[in-house]
Symmetry: C3
Subunit: 267 residues, 3 copies
C-alpha cells in the first residue's frame, strides 16, 4: 500500500517530536494562516524573503516552501537563491505555482522554478495543466477552472519531467511520482470559500517532507492533515469565518484515532 | 427609488451566479480579510501587484480595487498601470485613499489616482474631505476625525470633479454621484474595532460593480453587504475577534429575507 | 513597588481615553493581528513603511514600533529614518529584533537599531542573548531555544548598554532597565502556538509607552495586557484558532477587576 493511516500517523508524530523549521517564501495573503497552520500541526514556521539572508536561513531549515502568490521581481531572485541553497544541502523544497497560466510572469516563473528540482509541486488542476504544457488556456485568476481528475495525465507528465512528486488538489486530491498514484478523498466544499487553503496544504507538505524520506507518502500526509482538519472544521461551521478558526483547532487536536477513522485513500 | 432591497438582492444574486474575478492591489494588513470577504460573498478574489503582470491580470478581471493602505513607490507605478488597463477595457475600478491627508505621499497619490477615472472612490470622512480639497487639516493616521455627514458637500464636489461615485462611510454611509444621494444606516460601532473593514467595504463595492451597470446602486449594494453582515455579526459578538469571524459567516449566509428585513435606506 | 495592578489599570485607562496613534513598521505575518490587538486595546494603529512618508507619519504618532520579522533592505532604511524622526521629537519607539541570531542580516540590523535609542527592546531569550553579545549560537529560526530566565543577565547588560528597557518574554516575562527588574507570570503555553503573539506584545508595549512616562511600568503593562488576555483566551480555547479570536475579545473586555484578579507580579 502506497499510503495508509499508519504512514499518516507516523509522519504526524515525527512533525510533533522534531518540530522542523519550515522556511516559507510565500505570499502576503496567506502568511499569517500558513504560519498558524504549521504551528498548529507542530512545526516551527518562518517567513523570510530578503535576498541577503535566504541562503543563510535555508541552511537552518528542514524544509523550504516557495509560493508565488504575490509575485514580484525581487522575490523571484530570492526564490531562485533559496531553491539553489536547499538543493545544495539536500533540504527538500515545495513549489506552489499560484496562478500559473493567468499571466506570463506566473507561467514563466513557475516553469523556471519547476526546473530547479523541487521535491514536490502542488497546484490546482489549471495550474498543473499549464505547468505540464497541457493547455494554453488562460487560468481564471487564482482559482481552478478544471476538476482535479482532468489534470491526472498532465500531473504524471510533469512529475516525470521534473522529478518532483506532483499533487493536484480539488474535491479529490491526487499525488503522483509519474508512475504511482495516490487519491485522497477528504475535505469539504466549504474549504474553497477560505482563501489560501491550497497554500496551507503546500506548507504542511513542507513540514511532512522535512521529517519523511518517502516523498510520495510525505506529500499525501501533508495534504491529508489539511483535508481531514478542514473536514472536521467544516462540519461544525456555518460559514468560512468559523471554518478558518476550527481548522487551526483541528490541526492542533489531530490524533491517531481521528486519522484512522477519517482518512479516505481512494487510489 | 435610487436603491432598495430589490436592487441589493439582485446584485447579490448576480455576484453569486457570475462569481466575478476581482483584482485587488491592496494593503498588506487586509489582504487576507479582503480575500475572505470576497469569497464569502461569492466573488473570486486575486491579489496581484507586480508591474510586469498587472495589466495582463486586469484584462482577466471583472473589476479592480486599488487601496493605498501600505503604499510604496513601486506599488504606485503598478496602480497607475492597472488603472489605465482597466479604463482601456471598460473594467470598473474602485479607489480607497487610505490615510489621504496624513502624509503628502498619500494625499498626492490619492489625488493622482482620483484623476484616472475610478468608477468609485470610497473613504472615511477625513479622507474624502482632503481629497475634495475641503480641508488642509492633518488626518489622524488612518482613522477619521470627522463624522460622515461632515463630508457630504465635499463628497458631492469630488464626485462632480472626478466622475466617480463617491462613498463616505461612517455611522451612516453616504453614496453620491454629485447630484443624487443614498444614505444607509446599517452597521454597528464595534465594526470600528476590527482593522480594515473600510477596505473590505471597498472590495465588496468592486464585486458589485463587476456585475451591475447602475454604479450608484452597485456602490450602495457593496456597502450594504458589509454593513448588514457586520451588524448581524456584532449582535452575537462579545468583542472584535468574534466579530471578524461572524462577519465572514454572515456574508456567506446573506440572503434575500435578511436583506429585506435589515436594509435601512435613510436618504 | 515597581509595578502593580494599579499601574496596569491606570495605563489601560490612559490608552482607552487617549487612543494613541501607534505607528508600526512591522512584518507581513502579523500586521493584521497587531492592528487588531491595538484596536481591541483601545489604541489607533497604522502600518506605514514607505521611506518617503515614514518621518512625516512618525510626527503624527504617539509611539513607533519597529519589528524586523520580514526584513528587507528598503525597509531597513525606512526603519532608520523613522527611529531618527521619533528620537528627534521625543516619541518613544520599541524594537522587536525578530530572529536576531538566525542570520547576519537580522543580527546586524537589530544591533544597529538597538544603538538608535529605543525606549524598549522586546525579544525572546535567544534574541536578547544574541543582541547582548552573550552568545554566538545560531537562533532556531524565529523561535527561542532558551527559557526567559537564561537571558536575565544579558537583558540587564543590554539595557545598560542601550538605555532601553529590555523585556524578555517566555513562560515568565522579565522587564529591566539594567538595575531594576519586574517578573510577570501571566500567560499560557498555548499562546506559543499562535504566530506573532510576541510581536503583538511589542505593539501593545508601544501603546503603553505612548501614554506613560514611567517606561519600566509601561513596558510591564503592555506585556501584561497581552499575557492576561491570552490566559483568559486560552482557558476557553480547544486550540490556537480559538485562542486568537478570544484574545482579541479579551483585550477589548479587559477591565480593572480582571487585572486585579489576574495580574501576577513575581519579581
Amino acid at each position: 500500500m502506497l499510503f495508509s493511516a499508519d504512514h499518516c500517523i507516523a509522519i504526524l508524530d515525527a512533525v510533533r517530536s522534531r518540530q522542523p523549521l519550515v522556511h516559507n517564501i510565500t505570499n502576503y495573503v496567506v502568511m499569517n494562516n500558513t504560519a498558524n497552520a504549521l504551528l498548529a500541526l507542530g512545526a516551527s514556521p518562518a517567513m523570510v524573503h530578503a535576498i541577503e539572508e535566504v541562503e543563510e536561513f535555508v541552511a537552518l531549515s528542514q524544509a523550504l516552501v516557495i509560493n508565488i502568490g504575490t509575485l514580484s521581481k525581487p522575490w523571484i531572485k530570492a526564490m531562485d537563491k533559496a531553491a539553489g541553497a536547499a538543493n545544495a544541502r539536500g533540504i527538500p523544497w515545495v513549489l506552489d505555482p499560484v496562478g500559473a497560466g493567468a499571466t506570463a510572469l506566473r507561467t514563466d516563473t513557475s516553469a523556471d522554478l519547476a526546473r530547479l528540482h523541487p521535491a514536490c509541486i502542488r497546484g490546482n488542476a489549471s495550474e498543473i495543466m499549464v505547468l505540464a504544457g497541457a493547455t494554453a488556456e488562460k487560468t481564471k485568476g487564482v482559482d481552478s477552472s478544471h476538476g482535479s481528475a482532468d489534470a491526472l495525465a498532465p500531473a504524471r507528465q510533469l512529475a516525470k519531467a521534473t522529478g518532483a512528486i506532483v499533487a493536484v488538489t480539488g474535491a479529490t486530491d491526487y499525488v503522483t511520482d509519474g508512475t504511482r498514484l495516490i487519491g485522497l478523498a477528504n475535505g469539504h466544499p466549504l474549504m474553497a470559500k477560505v482563501t489560501g487553503l491550497g497554500c496551507t496544504a503546500t506548507a504542511l507538505v513542507g513540514a511532512a517532507l522535512a521529517v519523511e524520506k518517502d516523498r510520495l507518502a510525505a506529500v499525501a500526509a501533508g495534504l491529508s492533515f489539511l483535508a481531514i482538519a478542514g473536514e472536521i472544521a467544516a462540519e461544525k461551521s456555518p460559514g468560512p469565518g468559523s471554518l478558518q478558526l476550527h481548522l487551526l483547532d483541528a490541526l492542533h487536536l489531530l490524533d491517531a484515532p481521528t486519522i484512522r477513522r477519517r482518512l479516505k485513500v481512494v487510489a
